[in-house]
């Protein structure tokens, strides 16, 4: 074995990020590391590259235990890493980036020609025909990515870790990158490949290792697993024997008073799609991480302006250039990562709740203190937010209660269209049920909701219909009896060919 881990364990306060993970990488193979968010992929990588110190367990390089303390030490051992965000310096030339730290010198002076020659030599065999004297930033991300690989291979030369290298590449660039990876495999490097794009995983990988909740779930030769089995392993659920019982009330709205999105999208983030949102309707959105779910929500809310299509409602076009105009149009968006995008931890529960409403009114017309107090207490009671009083800083509440505060913030603006990205992630079971009940309540009053979730049962329980997103496209829409965990899973897993036929 080229590189192995044995019972690798790493914990952070409150979570066990890696739980006795054993993993083997052979020379001359591409080994994909798979798992949803929080599965432990990046923690494993960071332990291997010295960015984190493991709690216990061994890392063996060619059978010898190693203890990398930094990226540089890992590199010296023979483990190089290339991240999604290129870890090179865009302002330096290609040659400087390749040779930084080991430039050829004479009497302390860099020899430009020798540096360029060395850079060209390092790039030989990667199929790049570029001028190494130009700044790195003048080349595409794909080229930068390959330059980063060339540097990593030159400096470490045994193990190459590719962490989401294709995330910002187009199809042709991905092939260019894969050609490079195949060459390196032939040269006998062990390559760890991390990607959310399952098609790419199947295309390039020899073996697959699946992690879930910090545990090693399975390792298989890529040829022995199909998409369905892989996704089942990643999401950690077997296909349901029977469809969950659904009794959704009828949607009250008609298509006449609906909000109609036609051909909206954003190049490189989400392919153009149509969506009609009727009053009192809950639309579920399913898909793997990185499939384009959040990107869809951002386009719908104007957080990322759409570069095509139109948005209309009964009274004409809707302006969605930015979140401000979306809020003015009665839209609301509770983002996925509430810690960074949602709550303001230092402000009180009351201040967090009135934030969006106040922003819509404009800061020149403050909401009277008494009114603020009344609203805060009202929502604390209605949503059962567990807090001693409305003046407690939100950062001190539990995750579920923080989530409810964000919901209250948007409900206070009385939106007509509410987008919830992973509303139940990381909250306990009780709060989970309450949030689902709350969704039903507000929908009964005529609000429309889009719920993005990885939990299929949850989607099935609340949604009138479910849109499945894959590889940055809306690939299918399930309605009526088709809305079941089983059909959603099949739609997520369907290979490319059948889906194109379905479109």
């Amino acid at each position: 074995m080229l590189l192995s881990t044995r019972d690798l364990t790493k914990s952070f306060p409150g979570t066990l990020a890696l739980d006795r993970v054993s993993f083997d990488l052979k020379a001359g193979e591409v080994h994909a590391l798979l798992g949803e968010n929080g599965a432990g992929k990046s923690t494993l990588i960071k332990c291997l590259t010295g960015a984190y110190r493991r709690d216990s367990g061994d890392i063996l390089f060619e059978g010898e235990p190693v203890f990398p303390q930094s990226t540089l030490e890992a590199q010296a051992i023979g483990i190089g890493t290339v991240y999604q965000e290129v870890n090179l310096l865009p302002n330096l030339t290609v040659a400087e980036n390749l040779t930084l730290g080991h430039q050829p010198t004479r009497f302390g002076m860099i020899r430009p020609r020798a540096t360029q020659a060395l850079a060209q030599e390092m790039l030989a065999g990667y199929g790049l025909d570029i001028d190494v004297r130009r700044p790195l930033e003048s080349y595409s991300v794909a080229v930068q990515q390959i330059v980063a690989i060339a540097r990593a291979v030159h400096l470490s030369g045994r193990v190459l870790i590719l962490d989401e290298p294709t995330a910002s590449l187009d199809a042709r660039e991905v092939q260019m990158l894969f050609d490079v990876v195949r060459d390196l495999r032939v040269r006998g490097l062990g390559i760890i490949f991390i990607s959310h794009f399952l098609d790419q995983v199947f295309e390039i990988s020899d073996s697959l290792t699946i992690l879930r909740n910090g545990r090693h779930i399975a390792t298989h030769p890529a040829a022995d697993v199909d998409r369905m089995q892989l996704i089942t392993l990643m999401l950690g659920r077997e296909l349901a024997e029977e469809t969950a019982v659904r009794h959704r009330p009828e949607v009250t709205g008609t298509s006449a008073d609906a909000i109609r999105f036609t051909g909206v999208g954003r190049r490189g983030r989400i392919a153009p799609f149509d969506l009609t949102v009727r009053k009192g309707e809950v639309i579920g959105m399913a898909g793997l991480l990185g499939s384009g779910r959040t990107e869809s929500a951002e386009v719908l809310f104007g957080a990322v302006a759409s570069d095509s299509g139109t948005v209309e409602d009964a009274s004409g076009p809707v302006d969605l250039r930015n979140p401000r105009s979306a809020i003015a149009a009665g839209f609301a968006f509770a983002p996925e990562d509430r810690k960074t995008d949602g709550i303001i931890a230092e402000l009180s529960v009351r201040e967090n709740i009135i934030l969006a409403l106040q922003a819509r009114q404009g800061w020149a017309r403050p909401i009277p203190q008494a009114e603020q107090q009344r609203m805060a207490n009202d929502y604390i009671a209605r949503l059962d937010i567990r807090t001693p009083d409305a003046e407690k800083p939100v950062g001190l509440l539990s995750g579920g209660n923080q989530q409810k505060v964000i919901l209250a913030r948007w409900l206070a603006t009385n939106p007509r269209f509410l987008i919830l990205d992973e509303p139940t992630r990381g909250i306990d079971v009780g709060a989970h049920a309450e949030i689902l009940r709350l969704i039903e309540d507000v929908v009964a009053q005529g609000m429309s909701i889009l719920v993005i979730s990885s939990e299929l049962e949850e989607l099935v329980a609340v949604s009138h219909r479910v849109i499945v997103v894959r590889d940055r496209q809306h690939v299918s829409e399930l309605t009526g009896d088709d809305v079941s965990p089983d059909t959603i899973l099949r739609a997520i897993a369907a290979p490319h060919t059948t889906l194109e036929a379905a479109e």
Binding site: T71, L72, Q75, N87, L88, L89, P90, N91, L92, E96, N97, L100, G101, Q103, T105, G108, M109, I110, P112, R134, P135, E137, S138
Partner: protein, 318 residues
């Protein structure tokens, strides 16, 4: 074409254009005498700007240099008055002090992870205060060696004089060019300016480089202090207030990106000469108030900031 070199080309074009305008109005401006004076009069600014260029390309700033120049003048004047030391020995002592002073600031910036702005602001007050501690008066320097240095020049064709001071500045710029563009240290400076975290990941010794950068700036400020004391034959603790800002302006007009990571030493020389040219024009004109210098420099700075912003857009859309 290298898009990062565009500001340098813009700087050179503006300088040549400005010189052309001056020449058309006052043909006498195109003589080696004027050029010689331009170099001599701006020698201390040019030298200190060499250090500032390195600091700014690394993504930092050094506000202490103006005070360090004043301190240097006072230190030299007082030591020559009070002791029998030869000026060269005093110079060596002074350069050691200012270099260590810069290194100490660099060390604090790195170890305490403090913004360079604050650390060098403290350095600015410290150096100015240290100058006052030595004397509060203007101390004249009266030494035979000083007269020799003031008289030393190389006669250029056209009777222009390349003085020792002007020559020192040109030598400093050349030294700076070699350091920045031809050494590992120079590449590390650009790497720091491009992104400290990435530079560290790529193996740049961030701490050592930071200390060296500010030590170099301190060394250049000390050298500028020597040149300034030769130029004025005196040491005065209230001298060169705000010179650090002039140096920053020269660096930016010279096409260096204030956010770091991009720029050329040669551009700084042109930036200093452009600022000097404006002043020379006003002297030739004779009727304009010297405040016009500041207005033109302000306008030039604004133009370069806009140019840099535009280039940034161009790069991003690329």
């Amino acid at each position: 074409m290298n898009i990062r070199a565009l500001p340098l080309y813009a700087t050179i074009a503006i300088f040549l254009l400005a010189y052309l305008v001056c020449y058309l109005q006052f043909p006498a401006m195109l003589s080696t005498r004027v050029i010689g004076n331009l170099l001599t009069d701006n020698a201390y600014l040019g030298i200190v700007a060499v250090g500032m260029t390195v600091v700014i390309i690394s993504g930092g700033i050094d506000l202490s240099v103006g005070s360090v120049i004043a301190f240097s003048g006072v230190f030299i004047a007082v030591l020559l008055r009070e002791t029998g030391l030869h000026p060269l020995a005093v110079f060596a002592l002074l350069l050691a002090i200012t270099t260590l002073f810069g290194a100490a600031m660099g060390g604090m910036i790195h170890l305490l992870a403090m913004p360079p702005f604050i650390v060098t602001l403290a350095g600015m007050f410290l150096a100015r205060g240290a100058g006052y501690m030595l004397t509060i008066d203007s101390v004249p320097i009266d030494h035979a060696f000083y007269e020799t240095m003031q008289r030393a020049y190389y006669l250029m064709p056209g009777k222009g004089r390349l003085t020792l001071l002007g020559g020192t500045m040109v030598a400093s710029v050349i030294l700076g060019m070699i350091l920045l563009h031809r050494t590992k240290f120079g590449t590390n400076v650009y790497a720091l300016g491009g992104g400290e975290a990435t530079a560290r990941l790529m193996g740049v010794a961030v701490g050592r480089t930071t200390v060296l950068i500010y030590a170099f700036s301190g060394l250049m400020a000390g050298l500028a202090g020597i040149v300034f004391s030769v130029y004025t034959s005196a040491g005065y603790p209230l001298a060169t207030v705000g010179v650090e800002l002039n140096a920053i302006a020269a660096v930016v007009i010279g096409g260096t990106l204030l956010t770091g990571g991009s720029g050329y030493m040669f551009g700084t020389l042109i930036g200093v000469l452009t600022m000097g040219l404006i002043q020379t024009y006003i002297v030739f004109d004779g009727t304009l108030s010297s405040w016009w210098t500041k207005i033109v420099i302000g306008a030039l700075l604004l133009m370069f900031i806009l140019l840099q912003k535009g280039l940034l857009r161009l790069r991003l859309s690329h």
